[in-house]
Amino acid sequence: MKQQAIDPFQAVGDPNRRQMLKLLSKESLTINALAENFDMTRPAVSKHIKILYSAGFISIEDIGRERHCILKQSGFKQIQQWIDYFDQFWAVKLKKLEDILNEKAKNIK
């Protein structure tokens, strides 16, 4: 099952997919069991699962005759990485702006 990589931010932008991740965070589920929680067609559920899979949020394993969806870490890590990065980025930049402005004010006096 090879898929084109999907932006993890886009993947969790959808409330149904977030709900799926939430359910999977409690336990691994077969695709059928997961689908039972949603009022949508089986192909629609499959489409969401594919997106979550492509974005690295879940893996799909064949156990016995069933396909199981299992939560995976890579999608989550990527999001957290960007948020952490820009959080720190802005703190550093704002401090720098403050320093530059204060320095400038001192030179004028």
């Binding site: 931010f9 991740l21 703190a91 704002l94 720098k96 702006l97 403050e98």
Partner: protein, 144 residues
């Protein structure tokens, strides 16, 4: 609306001075990043910073001015491409300037990251998952 990144910063300078540093290309380069910014509605511009190879980030930020309210508010899109022109991050940066006694309060909001702010996701991420997520799941979420 939830905000993913928000900073309130106080400056001892006037809103005019802070605005100048937010909207003049050469001055922005001094504290933010090299850029080809020009204050005009709808204007597209770019920031260039050091690449971050660990994040597959080439250091370029692609922006477009979305809103200008002189001395009060500035909004621009903030996009990052990864790999072969794939849109990685599609977000919005908003600056608010509020005149205060003895200076200016500057509020920065980096949004568009909103949708991702889901308690469950953050909690899970903060716990620092290892590869054996399945085994740990029980412990993580039973503490709720």
């Amino acid at each position: 609306m939830t905000k993913m990144i928000k900073y309130n910063w106080f400056f001892e300078q006037s809103p005019e001075m802070v605005w100048k540093y937010l909207t003049t290309s050469e001055l922005m380069a001094q504290w933010l990043m090299n850029n080809d910014f020009e204050l005009a509605p709808g204007r597209e511009f770019m920031f260039k910073s050091n690449p971050q190879p660990s994040m597959d980030f080439d250091g370029n930020v692609y922006c477009r001015i979305l809103d200008i309210d002189p001395l009060k508010k500035l909004v621009y899109s903030w996009k990052i491409m990864q790999g072969q022109g794939k849109l990685m991050l599609d977000s919005i940066v908003t600056w608010f300037l509020i005149p205060k006694k003895g200076g200016t309060e500057l509020i920065l909001e980096h949004t568009g990251l909103d949708e991702w702010k889901n308690e469950m996701l953050l909690q899970a991420m903060n716990k620092g998952w290892d590869q054996n997520v399945r085994l740990k799941m029980g412990n993580l979420f039973n503490t709720k």
